[in-house]
Symmetry: none
Subunit: 139 residues, 4 copies
């Protein structure tokens, strides 16, 4: 497996949305990117605000840019704010240092990332993880 | 009706992809934006290249930016290239002056736009129109 | 094979440089990118000018962005200049519509791209092709 | 001596990578720039994440931009964050205020810089220094 297929990406999106509704989260947005940071699938629920496409994308893109989850980037941003701020400026899609951006792995390698935004960062991450699980992929 | 719902946007995407497969087009990407130019749904078929998310988005965003289809923008770009080039620089998502970006209307008003890219511009537009029709919306 | 390894990328670079010296080309620069458009290896010969890193990268990145060689992009730019100009503005690394940017394939899929600049576009492409051949990869 | 030759730059890269493997560091990326901030050579190890080319380049470019190592820029960023932030916005390649970007000197003058990223900043700097030493150059 070398790429998240569109079928898999759409399963991740629908799995994340299903989890968000089961948990009663606020309206969310979900982006699925390939390993190079290029979008494969995206959905924004009714009521999810204007910048959510960019935030969801930046959570996932930032995880791919630095090779760790956006939750870890959030921890790095507390210890080394100027480094993360500088890195964000170098990434065309930006970096959002808050949970909800999760790397997707297969056969030991990173094959993409999922970014979710709309509720708390912890809840966003739950939805992302549920989507990845629904597609039978690993984190 | 003032906004394309996520359900409608996903129907537009699946309708455009179905048409692309029926016509035997090259792998395409489809973006659906609301009236404010903010993405609601997106899909990139397997084999559709890296920049297609931005091109699909720019076709739709440009149509909303200037209030006409990206086909018309393509005609304007031949007559007034410096104007379209300048306008493209002002729109954060850019403008792509080629067919495939179509305004979606309901109750007489623009409620969003669809952008398709991957095959010829004419074929991209056919897929966009099929998607809008599948959702029971007007152009 | 899902990624050009650093070893392979360095073999592409040395193969391209060896061909450039065998053909007596002007000083060249060679960039090897992964499928997502991210640099793996780069070399700029003594006497190759300041912007060559960006030009080599843009030739390869543009090929990945649109899914065709930069030679084909050059042909597209003659027929549809406004489309290629608009696409170049959307790609963070830009697009250079001239030969020398070549897609690298394995197992039927694109796994990266090579960009060469410094001599004529035709000669740049010869060096890129020689580098890919030296690494035992396909175009 | 006024310029790092490609041979020297490639020796710096291979020396830095050798040190990284000897120390058991995480996968790193190494950029060597000339005195004008223009890339001469670059390598990204397998597993080094997407943004590493830009981060390695920005560490080295920032050092050349301000005339001090990126370690010193990191100290400046704590004392004068708004100045470093503003300067970063002025430098096309950006500035990363963390160790790993080292100026290279010969005959008393700055002839270029090396940037390393992938492990801790302190370890990145060790790899950069080892590369410069391998090429018989001074810091």
């Amino acid at each position: 497996m070398t790429r998240i297929s569109l079928d898999q990406a759409q399963t991740i999106v629908s799995g994340a949305l299903k989890e968000a509704r089961a948990l009663g989260l606020k309206p969310i947005s979900v982006a699925v990117l390939d390993a190079g940071g290029h979008m494969i699938a995206f959905a924004r629920e009714d009521g999810s605000s204007n910048l959510r496409p960019q935030i969801a994308t930046a959570k996932a893109s930032g995880a791919l840019a630095l090779g760790v989850s956006s939750r870890t980037i959030g921890e790095m941003a507390i210890e080394r704010p100027t480094f993360i701020n500088a890195a964000a400026g170098l990434n065309p899609a930006g970096i959002v240092p808050a949970a909800g951006g999760v790397l997707v792995r297969a056969e030991g390698g990173v094959i993409g990332a999922v970014g979710v935004t709309g509720d708390t960062s912890d809840n966003d991450e739950l939805a992302a993880l549920a989507g990845i699980k629904a597609a039978g992929l690993s984190v």
